[in-house]
């Protein structure tokens, strides 16, 4: 890791021309989502007589990943929501030139000392705070939904879409991933795609910011049940806010292997909290469409990861594990949403 530390320090010195004695240390790769290589490190530098140390995160593009995404969109989302009611780390530098660290990357603040694991949340000391965690989780999602993307400066940074086209763009995008990456025929999800095309949802009244992967496992929480950071914005886009709500209550995130969505609360309570926080109504028919879409998107992601692994472009076991572990569960979730599991 020393070579990487030295290269990070060289880059930081380039970005901070007034700094001297720039060094990086404690470089440690962590699991930070399957779409990018994630490292934590400490950066130390001097400016005049003042010495500073910051704990930072490096998110670097890998050769292949679960999600082929635009790092600029992720970086823009972090910048847009810092600082707001949506807690996110401060985004510092976005770099597309591969000469620095071999692949494009960005650097952001590390929110240290908190938990992110969807399994840890099920046990002490976090399990006693599920009511608060649920309230905060869907209140923050409501805040994302109620945010004005234009005021956040995101309409210039994320691809535009008309309300009437939001569903179609997302469905066609993830259908294309399934078309291109499937290692075997997928009769359940193909039936779901046909149904979604036959019965499109009513459009949202306006376009909103969509996090794109809002679920237990992608936020940081503390031992008192407070959510301290919303992470993994790599699929952020403009669209229908029900997409995020539906994704957050997807069956495969029922980590407690019971009815609690996100391992935290009932589906009805999650929707109620979100409606109160966002000021929006989750139209049941529209939400149902997005719930089924969530299974199409989910399976597309598991298929894509399995494809990368099988092709050998990325041998991270998380890709194979997610694909093997969740593909069938996602099919069952789709069946349940279509009323075909009983």
């Amino acid at each position: 890791m020393q070579e990487l530390a030295d290269r990070i320090a060289a880059y930081a010195a380039h970005r901070m021309p007034s700094a001297s004695d720039v060094s990086a240390s404690h470089v440690d790769r962590i699991h930070g989502g399957a779409s990018r290589e994630t490292y934590r490190f400490r950066l130390r530098w001097r400016e005049g007589a003042r010495e500073t140390e910051r704990r930072l995160i490096l998110r670097r593009d890998p050769p292949g990943s679960l999600i082929e995404t635009d790092r600029a969109a992720e970086f823009a989302a972090y910048q847009a929501f810092h600082p707001t009611a949506v807690p996110v780390p401060e985004a510092l530098w976005l770099e597309s030139d591969s000469r620095w660290l071999d692949h494009p990357f960005f650097v952001m603040e590390e929110l240290a000392g908190f938990e992110a694991s969807p399994q840890a949340i099920l046990s002490a000391p976090y399990a006693q705070h599920h009511e608060r965690l649920a309230r905060e989780k869907w209140t923050i999602l409501g805040a994302i939904a109620s945010a004005d993307p234009e005021k956040l400066g995101l309409t210039d940074k994320l691809p535009k879409v008309e309300p009437k086209d939001a569903w179609r763009r997302e469905l066609e995008h993830w259908t294309k991933v399934i078309d291109e990456d499937s290692l075997a025929p997928q009769p359940i999800i193909r039936a779901a795609i046909r149904k979604l095309r036959r019965e499109p949802p009513p459009p949202p009244r306006r376009i909103h910011v969509v996090h794109g992967d809002y679920r237990t496992g992608n936020f940081l929480y503390d031992a008192e049940g407070a959510i301290r950071g919303i992470l993994d914005w790599e699929m952020a886009h403009l669209g229908d806010p029900l997409e995020d709500l539906a994704w957050s209550i997807n069956r495969v995130w029922c980590w407690g292997r019971d009815e609690r969505v996100g391992g935290l609360t009932s589906k009805e309570n999650a929707i109620r909290i979100w409606e109160q926080a966002s000021g929006l109504r989750a139209d049941p028919a529209a939400l149902h469409w997005w719930e089924l879409f969530s299974s199409v998107k989910g399976l597309a992601i598991w298929i894509s990861g399995g494809h990368e692994y099988q092709e050998g472009t990325n041998k991270d076991p998380v890709l194979a594990f997610s694909s093997v572990w969740l593909s069938n569960a996602q099919d069952r979730a789709a069946l349940e949403t279509m009323g075909k599991l009983v």
Partner: protein
């Protein structure tokens, strides 16, 4: 092969999960080792049922296609259904069974899409039969570790 493959996989997975992973640093490598251990527990489960579930499913699909062939009006699709219904397994190698299964499930997609465009009683009955098979197919593939 002795010791049996499932026993080997069970022991190796246990070693990775409970002995090796806790002592591995940094955290990224530790979780990669643990994930590999959990993957092996699913490989063990699949090893045991691999041939049985593929043979069972392929037989069910061929029988379904045989019944559907007598009802589907589209000549091209009917011909494909009849041909598939007549096929037998040429080999019990998992790779060959998988190839047959892929071919049959691709045909199932086409049949399902065709049936959905008809409202006649035969089509409704066939649609119900396809959904029952799709539900059963997820039971055959289900892992004990599955979250759902």
């Amino acid at each position: 092969m002795k010791p049996d493959a499932p026993k080997l996989l069970e022991i190796i997975a246990g070693k990775l999960l409970f002995e090796i992973a806790p002592s591995v640093q940094p955290s990224y490598r530790q979780s990669s080792v643990a994930l590999t251990g959990m993957l092996l527990t699913m490989v063990k489960e699949e090893w045991e049922r691999a041939v049985a579930r593929r043979v069972e499913e392929n037989e069910i699909l061929r029988a379904l296609f045989g019944r559907a062939a007598g009802q589907v009006g589209d000549a091209g699709l009917r011909g494909r259904l009849e041909a598939a219904a007549r096929e037998k397994e040429a080999s019990l190698l998992v790779s060959r069974l998988d190839a047959s299964n892929d071919s049959l499930r691709a045909l199932l997609i086409d049949l399902h899409a065709h049936v959905e465009t008809h409202d006649a009683p035969w089509a409704r009955a066939l649609d119900d039969e396809i959904w029952r098979e799709l539900r059963a197919s997820t039971e055959r593939r289900r892992f004990s570790l599955s979250p759902f």
